[in-house]
């Protein structure tokens, strides 16, 4: 069975500092990997995804994540965060033979001025 572990429940960081949100997964088959962002009282929005090809994927707002198969990780990074990045971030995995997407417990990113 698949599972997703987000190692940090909360990450406080100062504006313009770099940030890394960690995600590890377990699966016995090939996977698709995702990061979603959730603002208060809203649904989730896709931030970026890895399906195949280049292991480094980027979002339009400066986030990037790297698929590391040997370490079964898909950490999310941003070199300089903004106040507006404050939100909850979810890592997720979907295997190549199923209909389900499994989500991690979420990491709350709090950017301070």
């Amino acid at each position: 069975a698949q599972s997703v572990t987000q190692l940090d429940s909360q990450v406080p960081v100062f504006e313009e500092a770099p940030v890394e949100l960690r995600c590890n997964y377990s699966s016995s088959v090939s996977v698709y990997l995702f990061w979603y962002v959730q603002y208060p009282n809203q649904g989730l929005q896709l931030l970026l995804k890895y399906l195949s090809g280049s292991t480094l994927v980027e979002s339009i707002n400066g986030f990037e994540a790297e698929f590391n198969k040997s370490q079964t990780s898909f950490h999310l990074r941003k070199p300089s965060v903004h106040i507006s990045d404050t939100a909850e971030y979810f890592c997720a995995v979907s295997d190549d033979g199923g209909f389900k997407t499994i989500f991690g417990a979420g990491t709350r990113l709090f950017v301070k001025a």
Binding site: Y32, N41, Q42, G43, S94, G97, G98, F99, K100
Partner: protein, 115 residues
């Protein structure tokens, strides 16, 4: 692109009362549909998913049920609510045919408080 409508946005219900949350999808046909529950600090728990009309898969035993009476309609129900049913309920649809789900689209959610 796909649009998911969920209602109501907030709901306060007494213990023991029935529940019906509705979700409809626009912009796609024959979608895979999902109900998730989000509790504080626990991420998203998959409750039910459906790959077609009348086809429901339950992920966890619980006080809830789901139905899919039409292709783009997904309903979450309960006959008698428990306090533990409180949470933020999210309807989602995804693209994929069993070869992996490439992206999920979410509704705005329903915050249910059972009192």
């Amino acid at each position: 692109s796909q649009t998911i409508h969920q209602w109501p946005a907030t709901l306060v219900q007494p213990v023991g009362s029935p529940l019906s949350l509705e979700c409809t999808v626009e912009g796609t046909s024959n979608p895979n549909l999902y109900w998730y529950r989000q509790a504080a600090g626990r991420g998203l728990q998959l409750l039910f998913y459906s790959v077609g009309i009348g086809q429901i898969s339950s992920e966890v035993p619980q006080n809830l049920s789901a139905s899919r009476p039409q292709d783009r309609q997904f309903i979450l129900s309960s006959k008698k609510l428990l306090l533990s049913d409180s949470g933020f309920y999210l309807c989602a649809t995804s693209t994929g045919t069993g070869g992996g789900q490439t992206e999920a689209f979410f509704g705005q959610g329903t915050r249910l408080t059972v009192v």
